[in-house]
Symmetry: C2
Subunit: 292 residues, 2 copies
Amino acid sequence: MTFEQLRTFFWVARLGGFRKASEQLNLSQPAVSTRIATLETELQAKLFDRGAGALILTKHGQQLLGYAEQMLFVEEEIKQRVGNPSEAEGLFRIGASETVAQAWLPEFIQAFSAAYPRVNVDLTVDISKDLRAALLERRLDLAVLMGPISEFSVTNVALPEFALHWYKAAHLKDVDLARMPVISYASQTRPYRELTSALARKVGPKMRVFSSASLSASLRMIAAGIAVGPYPRVLAAPFLAAGEVVEFDPGIAVPALEFTASYLAEPRSFLVEESAGIMGQVAATWHAAHPG
Amino acid sequence: MTFEQLRTFFWVARLGGFRKASEQLNLSQPAVSTRIATLETELQAKLFDRGAGALILTKHGQQLLGYAEQMLFVEEEIKQRVGNPSEAEGLFRIGASETVAQAWLPEFIQAFSAAYPRVNVDLTVDISKDLRAALLERRLDLAVLMGPISEFSVTNVALPEFALHWYKAAHLKDVDLARMPVISYASQTRPYRELTSALARKVGPKMRVFSSASLSASLRMIAAGIAVGPYPRVLAAPFLAAGEVVEFDPGIAVPALEFTASYLAEPRSFLVEESAGIMGQVAATWHAAHPG
DNA sequence: GCGGTTTACGATGAACGTAACAATA
DNA sequence: TATTGTTACGTTCATCGTAAACCGC
């Protein structure tokens, strides 16, 4: 019995096929067959029922799956704890919403990089909807998005929320939301949905809502007096400091942005779980230093 | 990282030397060197301090030792639980005192053999003192002896005790322990020690004590009227049934024989722990059916 | 017939044992 | 000098990928 056999068995069971597992493991498909066959021979037990359409775990297979997962997690734990953690190598694929990318994400990456100086980081910035899909397709190791993701396969770690404040150009006096466009996050995001819903109740059908996938572009439009909108204070900070925009209260409450660090629960990864913990600390520290 | 590396590391750490580990593993000594070196390279951590006389675990090595032991136990657990337990192969070396060998040991071996039909059994019958030494030198997997063994490295499972009764030849009338020799277990056993101690207090220096390493020979001597002595009723049963010996009370209390199933605590072995459990059940059942 | 698994086989590479070497007490 | 760990090297055996055969919808 080897770790490679258990790892192979795990992925075959989890992905439901020899071919899918072979892709996950960067292996030829016959190699996967061989490994499983060898494992079955060694244990003197059939692990899969090959008959009915898809692959189905036998009773023995179900038992082994639990053990295999435990083994693989402890193996990674050894590599991280016993082996010099700073010597861990590999690629850590992180996806984040632009808001956090402009807030504390640099600090997080700095902290992560310090803890794992030899791990490469691949950062993707996208809207939560796409991050979610990427995570579920295993194209990301960790996603920071407006969560939580309601899938049994995903673990969500709550992060501090970002309060939203309304901003308008400094030179504007009265703002009539029936005339002045409101700008918000990209159209397929939760803040956009919630804003349009609130606006519809308050202003009615005359409302105009712009959406922009670029937060800095949005803020520049607000500074230019083209639109007004609710954003986290951290994004408006440079414009506030320059006196270009000011906060105001249009009487429309928008809920704070709730972010989570989300990752696939299986297979458990020490690196990912550890990173989510670091992220929680960094975010909490950052929010303590940036109230509002 | 492979199971063989972890197993090798475990034995090097536990036995305190590459050479000793190579013997335990039936491997050449350079092969052990290679495995440890590879493991150290993979983990980027030195596991042993080779300098001062004997091998000393580094901090990393100490951490790994715990993980390695856990891994090896789970590996065996998989082989027993997931793999068909009845397909388990190997050799199970059991040592026992003659008393249990003549009592419930056949029933135990039958039960064990039924549970593990493909495991070979090697049975040694000897006095507790030698069984103890054999166990500590890893020449036995499980020892049934007058325990417990007070070593931190040994796990003792208490078994039902054997009450002792005094027997004499049926045709004898009065028995004067100052004249009639008393026969007991072999000289280096606990019952012998306890008996001589009690006799010395009661009878004084005139006492005569024989010792015999063969229980059946002892009983035959008692039946012949050569001596009297305290034995478990199970051993006397055939002589009682034949009317050759009878129980009597010389007024000397001898404590019951306390047996334990003892085995080395490390490395944990699923087979051994399971066997000790079976033994406890068999012994309890047997004693319930053979009171006194 | 087609997606997916098993079988066949040649080639590569990891790991072993023997033997020589080095270090330590 | 005896004991123990390391280095060197030729060999063996496990495992991989390619290619072909083999199912079950």
